[in-house]
Symmetry: C2
Subunit: 416 residues, 2 copies
């Protein structure tokens, strides 16, 4: 059954690759309009998912991720209209040259082809991915979580309707409408028809995809993020950056997890960190050296052996004293997941070494780690944040859903 | 055991990533010098492989792929010196911007990290890959074929010696010195330490890697290449291009496999193709329509059902009559492996549709398919020819052994 889904997606992707920008944008606006018109139907389908989730004893926090509201649907529609307004990367030419024999050669940006997306509860991903795939001329095969099956089904149907309304192939967005988990594995093996797998979810999902896929997987979305406060950092400004990175939205992957502090400034600086962040609800896990400068109070605990390998996703902050730049870089490369890491320093040579030697998707000098985001980086849209190294690293925008072909235009040249 | 190899490679890759261009080039020149000085030792090791291969009953053609000669070793050394002279892609900055809040943002090219290369008999791959890895600041884990184990071992040892002579980590080039096939599988599962797998060999090896790897694999090197002779093509020039694409080096992946001829010109053109190419030893597999225009002679046979899905690697050419551009594109997309396909036409609108709609790594207008090659494309060096779609498509040069990191340089900016 999935082979047929794949075959249809491949055929649709060829048509999508040749679609005009105008037509693709029209489909996006149609879909936005259908979301507006179908709010009642969508909310009714969503209620079925929510009731089933509650009946199964799902926690309120998890149920919350399933919930669509009028406001959330409005948000999806306005996102689609915004994506319609972005530049179309397909067709861009680059790296052009003329070979000595006169052959004109360039790279031309084309869609990736067929994108397989495996995601968990949030049904907004269905519209999000459908919209980005349509914009970039790709086909998408969507495999959402069982718990949002009703919501995903109606959202996928609307996507197909919008495609058909613009004379684009409805099969460019397909939804695997069957909760059997074996189908996830089948999708990961469909290399003949699927060009890339993008997991959207937790670490377990990413690992499952990486370990089982015969198709390249974009893994990411998990970060153990560091800030290193160097001896020369401006302490007042550093406190603001640390508070921002830790507390502005603690549940996301670019939030701060571990603060490294230079030994020379640790005695004065660490108590100020606790004083500045504790009122925001932050609690601390301090290594032995850091504990030496802090009074043991409710918010400060000694760090355990796993604490510097933990993505907190909450208002917990690891504190560690380091001897200097070398130790800061070594600790970061050993414990970071390669997402986002920042140095706070007034010393240019230290900044340069941090930038060069810290092996992460985003490295910062004197800035919050919270900037690692497609919207913040001006990409217009965000597909995923990649922490693997091939194809794309860090925030992926529309362009990262494309590849290129080489085009050679000649006058009957032959190879000598 | 392989975990330790991986751990050492990862550590070495961090040092290689920070190495100066000058130092890396020095290591390449050291290696070239060591090859010059060690010819006797290399040839002695190579003789052990050749004797074992002959004793095992290996065919002369396969044994030939194992053989190193003084000339071949000289060639390897001069390739290394040439690579030393190429520009270093590491450190290049691109896509720079300044965000509205003043944060300077750019992408900076960095090595991929650790490259796993799985290859078959040819021992030259050892030096080839070692050289490209050193140049691009990567570490490489090499897994050559059992049949060239002695040759590979000495070549890997010389690579390590050259690294050490330049104060670079010897572990940046590691060779899996054990013929146990289980180690290939272990390498493909070493995702913690290996960032990319590049198979160099036949279709079976590529399939094995794709199906078993937990690390992204660059598949490629296999092409069923097409030329479509449109109604408007210049017949005389077309014959030269076809002969070049088929006969200049028939055993390689960018050689022509299938010739598609527009129905309107088939009656006159097809007999000329046979007349022009048969003297070069070419034999033909013609579909029924093409047979109608050809006399059944020794070199012309009726095509069987698999013949248009065969990479010939020899002086065989498939011939097929098509109704026009639509059928030519549809046939090509259905039967090509996405490597290299060319249209011969004087009609710009047909050329444009071919370029847009044929979904291959390299698409040509009025040129031989034989140009798909890193050297021909001016890339300076060729790592592989990719027919998958992520990261790189078509010929991969030095730059394709790199990725990027995002660098954000600020003045204590925080996210609002």
């Amino acid at each position: 059954m999935l082979t047929e889904v794949g075959r249809l997606a491949r055929a649709a992707s060829r048509k999508m690759a040749n679609a005009e920008t105008k037509t693709k944008n029209q489909a996006l606006c149609s879909l936005a309009g259908l979301l507006d018109q179908s709010q009642e139907t969508i909310l009714a389908a969503n209620r079925l998912d929510i009731e089933a989730a509650r009946a199964s004893g799902m926690s309120d926090a998890l149920v919350d991720r399933l919930i669509l509201t009028q406001t959330r649907i409005d948000g999806l529609a306005s996102d689609l209209r915004r994506v319609a307004g972005l530049a179309d990367p397909v067709g861009e030419r680059f790296d052009g040259t003329v070979l000595p024999n006169g052959l004109e050669l360039w790279k031309q940006r084309v869609p990736l082809g067929v994108i397989g997306v495996v995601y968990e509860s949030r049904p907004n991903v269905t519209i999000d991915v459908a919209g980005l795939a349509i914009k970039t001329g790709n086909a998408a095969i969507l495999r959402g979580g069982k718990e949002s099956m009703h919501s995903n089904r109606i959202l996928a149907e609307l996507s197909q309707k919008a495609l058909a309304q613009s004379d684009l192939p409805a099969e460019a967005v397909q939804f695997i409408d069957n909760p059997d988990r074996a189908l996830v594995l089948a999708l990961l093996h469909l290399h003949e028809f699927v060009d890339i797998i993008i997991p959207r979810g937790g670490e377990g999902l990413h690992r499952f995809c990486r370990e089982n896929s015969q198709i390249p997987v974009i893994t990411g979305g998990i970060g153990i993020c560091h800030i290193f406060v160097d001896e020369s950092a401006n302490a007042d400004k550093a406190l603001e950056v640390i508070r921002n990175a830790k507390t502005q939205r603690p549940s996301v992957c670019n939030a701060l997890d571990t603060l490294l502090v230079h030994r020379a400034v640790a005695p004065a600086f660490l108590p100020r960190v606790v004083e500045f962040l504790a009122p925001a609800g932050v609690t601390f896990r301090a290594d032995e050296a850091a504990m030496g400068y802090l009074s043991r109070e409710e918010s400060v605990q000694t760090a355990g052996p796993e604490d510097f390998d933990t993505e907190w996703m909450s208002l917990v902050l690891g504190l560690k004293v380091v001897g200097g730049l070398d130790e800061a870089i070594a600790h970061t490369n050993a414990h970071s997941m390669g997402h986002s890491d920042s140095i706070l320093t007034e010393e240019d040579s230290h900044a340069a070494r941090w930038v060069k030697e810290v092996d992460s998707a985003a490295v910062y000098v004197n800035a919050s780690t919270r900037f690692t985001d497609g919207g913040q980086f001006g990409l217009g849209a965000e597909v995923a944040i990649s922490t693997q190294r091939l194809h794309a690293r860090g925030p992926m925008g529309l362009r990262e859903l494309t590849t290129y072909k080489w085009v050679g235009k000649g006058a009957y040249q032959i190879r000598e």
